[in-house]
């Protein structure tokens, strides 16, 4: 090895590399652009994936793993809904493995339900707060697995009977903490117990209790945490039952319940048997799909960009064989050759990721404006830059090693 002057460290050749790149501007620009667009897609995709995952991980409020629901539809002229419901509930609650069962008008995450507005002052001129309505009896809290954090539960005597087309509401309600916060933003949810709110503009309801958390039937709704419970039994031909089971008993009970109910009364139809878990999967199916699609796209994009860099680098090595041989003949070590190509790629990638940062923000602004997505958080951008730097360096490593293996003798050979 030659004696290097102590003062000079390794010569990084940035100047010559940069000047050589200027001679092949177009190739370098193409890679930089590709890296930039790839980065903007990947970073925004990751952001969308994270946002959607967060949404999917929200608590539904109910015991999702151990609950299911079904519909019962009476169709014969002599069908008596009230008697059937009482019998059904008695049967369901007596089954071993069932924690509790209730009649319900709608089910969290099921996609269909009722909504109403509650307001703190009476009168059509005042705005209400939108809320989902679940009609339950005194077993509601237990079946739904929600905790009462203030006030009291409904008692059996509170439960009224709702007929088809009924307009009147019972005079009590239990609401979620989130709903209480929205109704009484100044005083806080604790103050809500005992307060009177109005439904249908004028009809007073007293808030008797507050539960910790429960989702509305529509997971995409802005007010998904706004829920009110209404103490009612429904005299409807079509109705739903919500059943909570002990851990692990759900699947067997679903089969058992379907048979039992169908046998108990042939004037009605049992259908729509579905676990809460399935309801959750269905509600978030498009999110899950989006996450899978975007993940696939990201992986493919990185591969395409990586292979593109490999292809161009291999090509450039082939083109420069003689030059590389000459460099080796003039004393360049293998490491120096590898370093040359890595450094060249690093310079191009740097231009790419800086451009990519701008594009990423641009694409995000577009997505925010057109699709009302949330604005991206800043730290995604440096992470994205880092990832693409690494992709570039890994991609160029192979061709660079190939270049380093070119024998110095090539310099003297005419091709």
């Amino acid at each position: 090895m030659s004696n290097k002057p102590a003062s000079t460290s390794t010569n990084w050749e940035i100047g010559p590399i940069f000047r050589a790149m200027l001679l092949n501007k177009v190739g370098a620009i193409l890679i930089a652009l590709q890296i930039a667009v790839t980065m903007s897609i990947i970073v925004n995709s990751v952001y969308i994936i994270v946002e959607r995952s967060k949404e999917m991980q929200r608590e539904s409020g109910v015991d999702t793993a151990n609950s299911f629901y079904l519909s019962s539809l009476g169709f014969t002229p002599d069908y008596n809904a009230i008697i059937t419901v009482e019998e059904d509930l008695k049967l369901l609650r007596s089954l071993p493995g069932v924690v509790d069962a209730i009649q319900m008008n709608a089910v969290p995450m099921s996609g269909s339900g009722w909504s109403m507005g509650l307001q703190t002052q009476a009168g059509a001129e005042f705005d209400g707060v939108g809320t989902a309505v679940y009609m339950v009896d005194e077993h509601g809290l237990n079946a739904l697995d929600v905790a009462l954090i203030a006030g009291e539960n409904f008692s059996a005597t509170d439960i009224g009977v709702r007929t088809t087309g009924q307009v009147e509401w019972p005079n009590k309600t239990i609401i979620t903490q989130a709903m209480a916060d929205k109704l009484f933003p100044d005083d806080g949810w604790q103050s809500a117990v005992g307060k009177t709110v109005y439904i249908n503009d004028l009809e007073p309801l007293v808030i008797v209790g507050i539960i910790d958390q429960l989702q509305a039937p529509w997971v995409g709704w802005d007010n998904v945490e706004n829920v009110m419970l209404s103490p009612e039994r429904m005299d409807f031909k079509g109705t739903r039952y919500f059943i909570r089971t002990e851990a692990g008993a759900r699947d067997d009970l679903m089969k058992q319940v379907e048979e039992l109910l169908a046998q108990s009364n042939d004037g009605r139809l049992i259908r729509g048997m579905r676990s809460l878990q399935e309801a959750q999967e269905r509600s978030y199916r498009s999110h899950a799909a989006m996450i899978k699609i975007l993940s696939t796209v990201m992986v493919i994009l990185i591969i395409v960009t990586g292979l593109g860099i490999v292809g161009l680098a291999s090509f450039s090595v082939n083109q420069r064989k003689k030059q590389i041989g000459t460099r080796r003949a003039l004393g360049a070590t293998q490491l120096a050759i590898v370093r040359y190509f890595m450094l060249e790629n690093f310079l191009i990638s740097t231009v790419g990721v800086v451009l990519g940062a701008i594009l990423t923000i641009g694409l995000n602004i577009l997505l925010v404006n057109v699709f009302s997505l949330a604005r991206i958080e800043w730290f995604y951008i440096p992470i994205g830059m880092l990832v693409l730097w690494i992709v570039g360096q890994v991609a160029v490593l192979g061709p660079a090693k190939k270049a380093a293996n070119i024998p110095p003798a090539l310099a003297t050979r005419t091709v």
Binding site: V26, V37, D127, L269, I300, V304, G311
Partner: protein
């Protein structure tokens, strides 16, 4: 000469097989992704009734709350009508054809002892519904217009319902028991599945059509439940079904057929007069805001195309862009590698135009190969979308011949666009510089 270029193109593709495969794959991926999302968007935004979509109009009148508009962001009137208004307007018969409609369901009890009862969705409509939407009939015909006035228990079955209840035979004139009541079958329609289901986008824009059809007048007579979307700004005045039906709650759709501009103007005037008359009765507290969107306008207003689908289409175009940038780079490299051959060909008498054409053919070949492979990828992609999204997308993920052509044209055009610069560079090399031994 074209054949010669073709032969050279394949020689050249074979020579740099890995590079060529990389390009074909890149184009295929880009085209595959774009075609998948374009297909979904195309089917979501397709014209469901192309021959008369500009003559069918959705009736919108603003019966909403005086204190707040139906739509906060735009001033569009409510997306449905009250039962009262839909009935009044249909009975006025001021359009060429008209029908109020809504969705309900009943339980079918098949005749056999073994057959289990099942629930069926029902479209309540006027007899004009069938002529207006050109619903094809397999057996029988729509019910008589009299049934629209005095409720008769008649029913038109879908082909599938007729198959499950009557085994597919001509059931016209037969009896069917629905929720304990006897109905007479008057007709069976053939396969009919407008996509999107434009006539009622609020209740599943991509669901199939209903299993049965029956006169709208039965809704009141039999107190049929409302299976569709219902919205109220005002509490019904009184208890019970009748009060709900006659409330200001909106749960009914209405379509009219208006064959020309005069008819459309006349109908708009009629709507305005109707609303003014109702104002005298103390209804319609909001300013006059009536609309008559045609089918495509209505689908656009209701934003039937899913946001996610649009977003994915945009992202897939960017994906295609990356793949094309990739291809430009690789083509540039490839053609640079051919400098010596190009120089030689120029020396042997090829004009620049010859060289340009030769490389254009080569690029187009790569593009077409990419396009064909991309079609395969699009089919895979659509299959994937189907498995990810489930049944609702079933009818939105079929490649038709138009899409196949679009895919090939996009592949060809984008690859040629990608090839232009490299080709231009290729035919502008100086021949003399390439002929000396290096």
């Amino acid at each position: 000469m074209f054949n010669y270029y073709l032969k050279l193109a394949f020689k050249s593709i074979k020579r740099n097989l890995i590079l060529s495969l990389l390009m074909v794959t890149a184009i295929a991926l880009g085209i595959g992704a774009s075609m998948t999302t374009i297909t979904v968007n195309y089917l979501m935004s397709a014209d469901p009734i192309p021959h008369k979509s500009d003559q069918l109009f959705y009736v919108q009148i603003d019966s909403w709350d005086p204190n707040s508009p139906f739509n906060d962001d735009n001033d569009l009137p409510p997306n449905q009508l009250t039962w009262t208004d839909a009935t009044n307007l249909t009975h006025a018969k001021q359009a060429f054809r008209q029908s109020a409609m809504s969705r309900t369901g009943m339980v079918i009890e098949p005749a056999g002892d073994d057959a289990k009862p099942f629930e069926a969705s029902i479209r309540l409509a006027y007899t004009d519904f069938f002529a207006m939407f050109d619903v094809p009939f397999l057996y029988g015909s729509p019910w008589d217009a009299k049934a629209d006035q005095d409720p008769q228990q008649v029913v038109v079955l879908s082909k599938a319902t007729n198959e499950s209840v009557f085994g597919g035979e001509n059931s016209v004139g037969k009896n069917i028991i629905l929720s304990g009541k006897h109905f007479q079958v008057v007709g069976v329609i053939d396969d009919w599945k407008p996509m999107p289901k434009f006539y009622d986008v609020n209740n599943g824009a991509f669901d199939g059509s209903e299993q049965m059809f029956m006169p709208f007048s039965l809704r009141q007579a039999l107190q049929l439940p409302n299976w569709g979307n219902n919205n109220c700004w005002k509490t019904p005045e009184g208890e019970g079904f009748e009060a709900f039906l006659k409330s200001e709650c909106i749960n009914t759709q209405m379509w009219v057929e208006l064959p020309n501009v005069e008819a459309q103007q006349a109908y708009m005037n009629f709507l305005n007069n109707y609303v003014m008359d109702q104002k005298d009765l103390g209804r319609f507290p909001r300013p006059l805001n009536n609309r008559l969107p045609d089918v495509m306008q209505w689908l656009a207003d209701e934003e039937v195309v899913e946001e996610d689908a649009k977003m994915m289409m945009w992202l897939s175009f960017m994906f295609l862009l990356v793949c094309l940038l990739n291809t430009i780079g690789l083509l540039l490299a490839k053609f640079t590698g051919k400098s010596a051959e190009i120089g030689l060909r120029l020396a042997l008498g090829a004009s620049k135009a010859d060289i340009f054409r030769q490389h254009l053919v080569e690029t187009a070949c790569i593009g077409l190969l990419g396009g064909v492979a991309g079609l395969g990828m699009a089919m895979l992609g659509l299959q994937g979308i189907k498995s990810l999204y489930g049944d609702f997308i079933e009818d939105l993920s079929a490649l038709d011949i138009n899409m196949v052509l679009v895919a090939l044209v996009i592949a060809l055009l984008s690859s040629i666009a990608a090839g232009l610069y490299p080709t231009w560079r290729a035919c502008n090399i100086s021949p003399a510089s390439q002929l000396k031994s290096q």
